[in-house]
């Protein structure tokens, strides 16, 4: 390692030699950096998981424009939308088709645990609005009280889910009715629910008698090939001109909900602060270690000053130490972070993982903030007075 660093730096790797000279302190410093990395990875994993789980239900459907109530910040909240606006929207030459989308939560008593499923009511004859992997078996929903169940839902064992077929359906009670799941699809638990359920709009209305077929939660529109969703959305805003509605392209709706979840919802804000705290903990740890190291070597640094070494050299040594701590602390940090997230994913069924981009970002951030800490720590070098050596 010394030889490699000597070649890289073009000088003796003083920083490295100082670090390995005090192995106990070095190990403690690496543990500190690794700990900060784990904190950041866990928080980033949770944030990322929130993003993935937020966008997951959008992936069940295919559409170009989403019409929602003005107060609908997410797919599952907000008021209803009058179906008449769908008919109005169809007057636009670029609007090909429309479908009402009903959404509500249904409880499912699983004995020891009660789970809550986000339930979408859709028109089972409009497979073109449904993602291909689900649309293939959407016909089963044409039967009253039939359902497609999220095989990744919390509380449902993988064996139970795998056994659900047309010939061996799973019946369960909810909202005072018996639903029968004939097929499954891949959803997954999120922060707002334990999984998903797809039923026909008619079954949905049976589950929720107070809801009206003329007032779905959202209206999904498909456009002719080549039409620009943003341009059509702008035209529809002029055509419909109802301030109680939000008319957005489907991709804008996804982006807006993601932004809302990450910046407006307490969970998103908490995760964001968690990342910040992890970064601060890392900065403080590296600063403390380097600051103590500089203080311990003031006499040697003063000697180097007397010999003619300039400020750039000292900055280089301390930054060298910081970068080494950042790089070597990252390795156990990413390993433990991965292990923690894997364990959490198994317990919560949330999509928790360390993506390559996340790992690269955290690595670069660790090295950058370690270097910043090192630069701050060099302020103590001003106390190294070579005249005091004599």
């Amino acid at each position: 390692m010394s030889r490699l660093l000597t070649r890289l730096l073009g000088r003796l790797p003083i920083g490295w030699l100082q670090l390995v000279h005090q192995r106990g302190r070095f190990a403690a410093a690496l543990s500190g950096v690794a700990f900060a990395n784990v904190l950041v990875f866990v928080q980033l994993g949770l944030m990322s998981s929130m993003g993935v789980s937020t966008l997951r239900p959008y992936e069940f459907f295919q559409g170009d424009i989403l019409i929602s109530a003005a107060d609908a910040n997410t797919l599952v909240d907000g008021g209803n939308v009058a179906r008449q606006w769908m008919l109005q929207a169809l007057a636009d030459p670029d609007v090909l088709d429309g479908m009402g989308l009903f959404v509500a939560m249904v409880p499912w008593d699983r004995g020891e645990t009660d789970i809550s499923l986000t339930t979408f009511g859709i028109d089972p004859f409009r497979a073109d609005f449904i993602a291909p992997e689900i649309a293939a078996n959407i016909d089963v929903l044409q039967v009253q009280d039939a359902a497609m169940l999220d095989r990744l839902a919390r509380g449902l064992t993988r064996e139970e889910a795998a056994a659900i077929r047309l010939q061996t359906p799973l019946a369960f009670e909810t909202q005072g009715r018996t639903l029968t799941a004939y097929d499954t699809f891949a959803g997954g638990g999120g922060f707002g629910g334990d999984g998903y359920l797809l039923v026909s709009d008619q079954t949905f209305l049976s589950l929720f008698p107070s809801r009206s077929s003329g007032a779905p939660d959202h209206i999904l529109l498909r456009l002719r090939a080549g039409a620009q969703p943003d341009a059509v959305a702008d035209r529809l805003k002029g055509l419909i001109a109802d301030p109680t509605l939000r008319i957005r392209s489907y991709s804008d709706a996804m982006a807006e909900e993601l932004r809302f979840q990450q910046t407006q919802r307490p969970t998103g804000v908490i995760f964001g602060f968690g990342v910040l705290i992890g970064v601060l903990v890392g900065i403080v740890i590296v600063f403390q270690v380097l600051s103590a190291d500089v203080a311990d070597h003031l006499r040697e640094y003063a000697t180097f000053k007397a010999m003619g070494y300039g400020q750039g050299f000292f900055l280089g040594v301390v930054v060298e130490e910081a970068v080494i701590l950042g790089v070597l602390g990252f390795i156990p940090g990413v390993a433990v972070g991965w292990a923690v997230l894997t364990l959490m994913a198994a317990v919560t069924t949330l999509p928790l993982f360390i993506s390559f981009g996340m790992a690269v970002t955290v690595f670069l951030g660790t090295v950058f903030f370690s270097a910043v800490s090192g630069m701050i720590a060099t302020r103590r070098l001003a106390a190294a007075d070579p005249a005091a050596l004599f």
Binding site: L17, H297, T303, F390
Partner: protein
């Protein structure tokens, strides 16, 4: 003595420590010319200003009053960058060895070369080993300071100061931790450098045995240069 023959020149040099009523004058009107290649010993009781003069001549302190010319450069009002560059042409030997605890003897000596921009690893290593061998440490090259005796550490510090072939060596009691045989070897090495390369040595010492080898002896008392004895005559 021509201009080129002078390594160090001080004119009307005064220095004070402290401020206000606590301000105390440490040096008074020091006038001094030191020829290139000479071996000068500075003596005097403790607190006479020897070390203060050494640090001023070695551009480790700011010149407050008077003038110091070191290797042709005026130190008064010199910038930090100028001082740093000039220090690279000097070799400091401190009373305490001040070796870097994390570096081996060889690496500590290499630091004296690296500051001059010597990047050729093989040549630098060879030079460091050569100087340590001259100082009788060929079997301690890769020892950390913690594993060396006091005298061995001091010899490494001497090696660090000399490896870069400095123009001026400023030494404060460099032989205090050495037995006489080793101390004599160090003094002879410094004198040889003076004869071979024109290296000037200004050494503070209390060791009377070294006085016999000095070209010139400066005596300071109470901040004043009270005696300047040329021994070459």
């Amino acid at each position: 003595m021509t201009h080129e023959d002078v390594s160090i020149q001080a004119r009307a040099l005064n220095h004070w420590f402290g401020t206000g009523e606590a301000r105390k004058q440490a040096l008074f009107d020091i006038d001094l010319r030191i020829a290139r290649g000479s071996f000068i010993v500075m003596v005097g009781p403790s607190g006479s200003g020897k070390t203060t003069l050494l640090t001023l001549l070695g551009c480790l302190r700011e010149i407050e009053d008077g003038s110091v010319t070191l290797l042709g450069q005026e130190l008064r009002h010199a910038t930090t960058t100028q001082n740093v560059r000039l220090r690279r042409r000097l070799g400091f030997i401190f009373q305490a060895h001040n070796l870097h605890e994390s570096l081996t003897a060889r690496q500590n000596v290499l630091m004296g070369l690296q500051v001059k921009g010597h990047l050729d690893q093989a040549a630098s290593d060879k030079a460091a080993i050569h100087v340590l061998t001259l100082l009788g440490l060929s079997d301690r090259l890769d020892y950390l300071p913690a594993n060396l005796s006091g005298g061995q550490k001091q010899r490494v510090a001497v090696g660090r100061a000399l490896v870069g072939n400095p123009d001026v060596v400023l030494a404060d009691e460099p032989t205090a931790a050495l037995d006489w045989e080793t101390a004599a070897k160090v003094v002879d090495l410094l004198k040889q450098l003076g004869q071979a390369r024109g290296t000037t040595t200004l050494m503070v010492t209390h060791d009377n045995r070294i006085l016999d080898r000095a070209d010139r002896i400066l005596t300071l008392e109470d901040g004043r240069l009270v005696k300047d004895e040329d021994r070459r005559a």
